[in-house]
Amino acid sequence: MLVLSRKLEESIMVGDHIEIKVIAVHGETVKLGISAPRNIPVHRKEIYEEIEKENILAARTRAEIPGIDLLAQIMKTPESA
């Protein structure tokens, strides 16, 4: 991993079109400004991790869904509630 030191208001360029700038530093929080073309998705790592966690949970669905009509069961519930 490339490690760079930056001061407030300084930035780094990733390629020709992506700029990451240090906007503010408060204690342990660094606020970054990211200028990237609209077609480049930028996400916090937490979002990736959240989706990863949810995928793992989803794949753990129990092996047997006894012969029930899932939709029938969930559709019935709102009326009885």
Partner: protein
């Protein structure tokens, strides 16, 4: 080709049934291909089965079945990566979590799976905004859908 699956045993599938991931599904770096299995008893849900990993199976569904106004904001970059010009050209599915209590089933609306049916390319994408969560109640979605249908009728 024959594919070993934990849930369905050995399954014979044609090459045209196989979808290739444009990027790994978060949490499952060893799976590159999926295929879909429809079963009457879980309609409108479908199974999404990994080709490479027999034990990796998801329950997926067309989100509009339950979330009538679902309109994820997906970046043009993601669409382009799948060779799609617009979201209208794409097939969208969402991954479902089925707990013991079926009324608590949720869908991941934050990370829908985008599919190009023509090229059979697919990718789980992240919506740009946090308007949708990874664990949205399907039951609440149905209730809102029924409510909206009712209001439409009154008008």
């Amino acid at each position: 080709m024959k594919v070993a699956t934990m849930r369905f045993g050995e399954v014979e599938i044609a090459d045209e049934q196989i979808y290739k991931l444009a990027a790994p599904l978060p949490g499952f770096p060893r799976t590159e291909h999926f295929f879909f299995i429809q079963k009457d008893n879980i309609k409108p849900f479908e199974w999404m089965q990994s080709v490479e990993e027999p034990e990796v199976t998801f329950v997926v569904v067309d989100p509009h079945q339950f979330f009538h106004d679902y309109s994820p904001d997906i970046s043009g970059f993601e669409l382009k990566e799948l060779g799609l010009k617009s979201l209208d050209e794409a097939t969208l599915i969402v991954i479902v979590v089925l707990p013991e209590d079926m009324t608590k089933m949720t869908a991941n609306l934050r990370g829908p799976v985008l599919i190009n049916r023509e090229t059979r390319a697919m990718k789980q994408v992240f919506t740009e905004s946090d308007k949708y969560g990874v664990r949205e109640s399907i039951l609440d979605g149905i209730k809102r859908k029924e409510q909206a249908a009712l209001e439409q009728k009154i008008k």
